[in-house]
Structure formats: C-alpha cells, structure tokens
C-alpha cells in the first residue's frame, strides 16, 4: 500500500497510469472488436484470435525486413490476412456455422494450436521486435512519458474502429452483416447470401487482427506463442462490454487498460492480471443480479 501514498505525493503519476492504460487498452480493444463482430454475427467464439494477431505481426515484421515501412506494412498485413481469413472460412469455418458453440470453440482451438506450431516451425521461437523509429513525448517535466508509437497504435485503433462503424452502418455489405446478425434466416429469405456475409465477416476479423499484430510488433514484441494473451483479453473485453455492443468494446478495452495499470502500480505487477479477472467476476455477478431483477418484473 506504500505505493498508494506515492500516488498521493505525486498525483502526476496518475496521469501517466491513465495515459498508458488508455494507449495499451486501445490495441486490445481493436482485437476485441473483431472478436465481438464474429461472436455477434456468426455466434463463434474464436480461440484463434490471438494467433491471427501473431501472424499479422510476423507479416509486418518480414515486410519491414524487406524494406517496407511498418506504417505501410500494417495495411498490407490487413489485406493479406483478409485473404487468409477467406481461405480459412472456405476450408474450415463454414462447416461449424449453425453448430453448437462448443464445436466452434473446439475447431478454433485446433486452428490456434496449428497456427502456433506452424509459426514456431516457420519463424522460430525467437522473440522479435520491430524498431518503431519514433521518439517519446515528454509531458509535465518528464514525469509523463508517452512513446509516440503507442499514440500511433491508439489512433490506428480508433480509426479502424470508426471505419468499421461506418462500414457496418452505411454499406450494403455492412447492412447485410447486421441483418444476418439479427436474424440469419430472415436475412436469407430476403435474399441476402448469408454464406458470403459470413465469409466477409470472418475475413474482416482476420484483417483487423492483422493490423493489430503490426501494432503489437512495433510496441512490444511478437513470438509464436503470444496468442493466448490476446485471445483471453479480447474475450474478457467483449464480455464486459456486453455482446453486440460494439462501441462499448473500445470503452471497455481502454477502461480495463487503465484499471490494469492502476492495479499493477498499487498492488504490484503480480496482481495486475489477477485484479482484472477478479473485476470480470464482479461484473458478471453484478450483471446477473440486475438481469435477475428484470426477469422478476417480467413475470
């Protein structure tokens, strides 16, 4: 608890924690956004989400090695991953749509193991990083430092999020995706090719993960086994935001980031993740109580 008094002595550190939290959370939120989309539209919980991030990271990494600036590498990774997503949909995912959710978890779990091991075979288990070549910003007399790459990540996350909202609201495909999410059978009756919608949604999620992977490689590091962290974290963010609440995902992602930073500072890093998961339990129990009350009124 002595760390708490440090925070009172130097409240500017709180600003640092909040800023770091928001910037860290934004990248997680981006990954969670894709997961929410997939879950909402196709009723699939994608355990391989983190592995898609990993592959995206490696694409940007190898492009950078070949001389492509990471900033351009990110959109390329997104496009490549879109194609990858389509291929994966046509080979595996279409078989598990409309099946029990347990089947989808098993199938994507299998894909995740496969991708991990393939990544390990192809790229080796070395930890790779990309130099961002961006300086850090110093605010408040050096007490608050913000690496610019994290701002780039944050802005990119926001931009992708905004682009998705616009896409879903105003384009034909976006509307078809939303219609399918609401009621797949009705959408089919009205002439929407739901199979194509599913393929596009799945590929879109892969593209989002690909872009996020590039940001991860520039901010932290990539490794064939990093996937689980991102899968778990995005799963959690989607649950906290509530299913189908896409704008809420960004809020939940950044909020959890801030809570995590604060918990790490005050309680120590060993409780950082534990605290966030504890919070998840509290939120779930709380939400269940609210829902139970509503159900009582309905009776």
């Amino acid at each position: 608890m002595s760390n708490l008094s440090v925070l009172f002595d130097a409240p500017i550190l709180l600003v640092q924690l909040i800023v770091s939290g928001i910037l860290v959370g934004a990248i997680f939120a981006l990954v969670a956004y894709g997961m929410a989309l997939l879950w909402g539209v196709m009723n699939i919980i994608n355990i391989a989400q983190g592995e898609f991030v990993m592959i995206g990271g490696y694409i940007v990494f190898f492009l950078a090695r070949a001389g492509v600036s990471p900033i351009f590498g990110i959109p390329i990774a997104a496009v490549v991953m879109y194609g990858f997503g389509l291929a994966l949909y046509r080979s595996v995912i279409w078989r598990i749509i409309d099946q029990d959710m347990f089947i989808s978890i098993l199938a994507t779990f299998g894909i995740s193991i496969l991708l991990q091991q393939l990544g390990n075979q192809l790229f080796g288990s070395d930890i790779r990083t990309l130099p961002s070549h961006l300086p850090s910003l110093f605010l408040a007399g050096g007490m608050v430092t913000v690496p610019e790459i994290k701002i780039v990540g944050f802005v990119a996350a926001l931009a992708v999020g905004a682009a998705l909202v616009v896409f879903l609201r105003y384009t034909r495909l976006g509307q078809a995706i939303r219609a399918t999410a609401q009621n797949a059978r009705a959408a089919r009756v009205l002439g929407i090719d739901t199979d194509r919608v599913y393929a596009a949604t799945f590929a879109l999620n892969c593209a989002i993960c690909g872009a996020a992977g590039g940001l991860v490689a520039m901010t932290w590091f990539i490794q064939p086994y990093l996937g689980l962290t991102y899968t778990l974290r995005s799963f959690m963010i989607v649950i906290v935001a509530g299913l189908g609440n896409l704008p809420g995902v960004i809020l939940a992602g950044t909020g959890l980031g801030v809570v995590e930073q604060a918990a790490g500072f005050i309680l120590g890093a060993e409780y950082q993740t534990a605290f966030v998961f504890l919070l998840l339990v509290v939120i779930l129990v709380g939400r269940n109580m609210v829902l139970a009350r509503q159900r009582r009124y309905l009776k």
Binding site: V6, Q16, V24, N120, S125, T129, W220, E260, Q261, F265
Partner: protein, 412 residues
C-alpha cells in the same frame, strides 16, 4: 478417396514412427550411447536446438580425438535424441523410454529448469546418472538427488555480481551501501524467482533497501507500470529477470519511457540479442551470463574458450551462446567421468562424477554433495559502445564498469 486418405494416414504414421526409431539405434560394441530428450519444437525450440548443437559438436570432437578410453578400449560417443516438445510430461515420459526401452546408461539433461525438474525423478528412480547444463533452478538441488549433476551456476547467482558492483560503487562514491535502493522486476516463474532470491539475500547482506519488488505474470507483455514506479521511487539499480522476453521488454520500455536508473541489470541479454535489436538504447545495461568466450580457461578437447567459439561457428554458422557452451561441457564431464570410472556401469560412473575435478573451456567443474557445480562463478557483462565487455568477476574483467550510467539526455 476414403481408402486413399486412410493409406496416406497410415503411411505418415509409419513414417513418423520410423523416424523416431531411427534416431535411437542400439549401442554397438564400441559406442557409448548418451540419451537426451531436448526441446526441438515448442516454446524452447531455439534454445533446445542450441543444446542439441552443443551436445553434437562435443561428441563429434571427442570421437575425432580418439573417443572415450575405458580400460584399454576406445569408445565412440553417440547421442540418442527425442523431442520433448517443450512440455514437462513428455520429457519425463521420453527419458523413461530412453532408459527402459533404449537401455541407455547415461542421460544428458533437457533444456530449462522446468524440464530438468520433470526428468530428474526418473533418472533417480532408475539410478541412471544425468549430467545437465541447462537446469539452473535452485530447487533442483534441495531434493537430495544423487544422480543429478549440473555444470552451471544455479539461478540465484545470476544477478548477485550486480549487487556486489553496486556496493563497491557506493563505497567509491563515499556512500554507505545501506543507502542504496534496489528495484526488482522478475517474471513469476521458477528461474526468475530464484534470481530474485539471490538478489534479496545479497541486498540484505549489504543492508540495501528493496523499494520495488514486482513479480510479472508470465503472460504479461508490458512493464510500463513497474517503470512508472521506478520513475517515482528513483532506485539506484533496476534488476530484471524474465528470460528473453524480460530483457527485450526491459531495454525497449526503459528507453522508450526514458526511465533513468544508474544501473540496469538483467539476465538473457545475449540470447535476446538486445544489441542487434536496440542498438545504442541497450548501452550501459549489465547482463548476467554463465560463460563468455573471452575467458582464459584451458580445455582438453577444445583448447580454450576462444577456440571453442571459433570452431563452433565454423561448424554451425552462429556464435555459440552460453546455452551451447554449458551443453558441450556436460558431454565433456561425462567423457571424463567414464574414463576415470574405467567402466560403463551407471553406478561406477555416478561415483566417478562425484569426484569430478576438472577445468573445461566452460569453467572449472567440481560438484558438491547436492550435485551442483561449485567450481565456477557467473560472468557479468556491461554493454559499452554496442559491445559486451566483461566487468565481473574482476579476475577476468577486461574493463571497469561504467556506473552510474549517464542521464538519457547526456547520451549520444
């Protein structure tokens, strides 16, 4: 179609089994087979391959220079491998298979403390001696194992030299070592907790105050909170341990957030290739290592550490990290003990191992009653001008440590 698929599946299974069997040929009359389950796939694949390269390179060298002499007969060394897939359960299973089905009399250790921990009870059960160079956890040597021998320093010794340097520098500045403040950030696993214990013990010895003591969860990929604390509490040294990931995160984020500490010390910088990755951002960091090719030991098979490094690079096309060296040393220790035992009997070789007292290119080897090597000491580098220079132990140090590191705005 279905039939074809089935045939294909059967064929591939047969091929896999065949590959497994082919690796373990039974010992011919003039060969000694050492068994090893190492991580060729999974998360330790890179370091597992280093281990395997170290074993193979040494066995080849010993064979080329006359092999192992037992009585009047010269034997060739042969190593039988399995891939433990970086998982403990698999490692234990495979070592049991090496002993029971492949009838090996001697076992070389796997990569990492976790896997060594899983394997040691098996070798103990069958009374088969194991010499290992990659399990540094202190916990391995408190269980009373009689057939386990480690050529490396246990993990609690990794960052002790850094604490010693801090105390020396404090005295030079005319400060009481008691006034020094230490921040520790370690990954919450066996290895790093041992590193932390060593630091805590030595800090206590000097009366230093530990102001930050963070244990990072293994899935954590960001240590900015710990660094915010460092900024607030201004410790004299920040000690980080978390394998490659810890070294990379430490150097990357300390530089990105321009966190100033007079001493930044960590483990695994060399295997994480921090100089190549971060260039001058890595300058002034202290790095713990088991071994360095600039040391001046003599060796029967390789001559000296420099020769070892050169010959190894010629054969495998990369500079040997210490993981290669310690694996190589394990094979040498076996060869030496088998010759002294004058027998291929596991029990006699085990007894000879307890009396080992030799100098290798990797360092002196002498086992205490728990089986750990008390002959050698850890090496501490500092990165100066983009190069590793040895700064401790002072006996082999070429250069003096730079302490305190210059402020960030004073660096070029």
């Amino acid at each position: 179609m279905n039939f074809k698929l089935k045939t294909l599946a059967a064929m591939s299974v047969a091929a896999m089994l065949g590959a497994g069997v082919a690796q373990v040929a039974s010992a011919a009359d003039d060969t000694i087979v050492l068994g090893a389950a190492v991580s060729l796939t999974g998360k330790y694949a890179t370091l597992g391959h280093n281990t395997q390269d170290g074993y193979n390179f040494t066995a080849k060298r010993i064979n080329e220079t006359g092999g192992v002499k037992v009585g009047s007969k010269h034997y060739k060394l042969k190593i039988a491998y399995y891939d433990d897939e970086s998982t403990s359960a698999r490692g234990a299973q495979l070592v049991e298979r090496l002993i029971k089905q492949d009838h090996v009399n001697f076992v070389l250790g796997p990569y990492s403390s976790a896997l060594t921990k899983a394997v040691a009870p098996i070798t103990e059960k069958y009374k088969i001696p194991m010499v290992e160079g990659n399990g540094a956890s202190r916990g391995l040597f408190t269980k009373g194992y009689k057939y386990l021998f480690a050529v490396l320093n246990t993990s609690d010794y990794y960052l002790r030299p850094a604490v010693a340097i801090l105390a020396e520098e404090a005295k030079k500045e005319g400060r009481d070592p008691k006034s020094m403040k230490i921040a520790i950030a370690v990954e919450n696993d066996n290895f790093s907790r041992d590193v932390r214990d060593g630091v805590l013990e030595d800090a206590k010895k000097y009366g230093m105050k530990v102001v930050i003591d963070d244990k990072l969860p293994p899935d954590l990929n960001d240590m900015s909170t710990t660094l915010t604390k460092v900024k607030a509490l201004k410790p004299d040294a920040l000690l980080i341990s978390g394998h490659d990931k810890g070294a990379i995160l430490g150097i990357r984020q300390v530089a990105a957030q321009k966190v100033y500490v007079p001493m930044l010390a960590m483990t695994h910088c060399d295997s994480a290739k921090v100089i190549k990755k971060f260039g001058k951002d890595a300058n002034y960091a202290f790095c713990a290592s088991q071994w360095d090719s600039n040391l001046t030991y003599k060796d029967r098979w390789f001559g000296n550490p420099q020769k070892f490094a050169e010959d190894f690079k010629k054969a495998y096309n990369y500079d040997p990290p210490y993981q290669v060296a310690e694996s190589a040393a394990a094979v040498e220790v076996f060869a030496d003990a088998i010759e002294r035992a004058g027998s291929l009997d596991p029990q006699k070789v085990r007894d000879a191992l307890t009396k080992t007292d030799m100098v290798t290119f990797y360092g002196p080897v002498k086992f205490d009653s728990t089986g750990k090597n008390v002959g050698k000491s850890m090496v501490l580098y500092q990165i100066q001008n983009g190069k590793y220079v040895v700064v401790a132990p002072s006996k082999w140090a070429k250069t003096k440590p730079i302490y305190p590191a210059p402020q960030w705005d004073k660096r070029q």
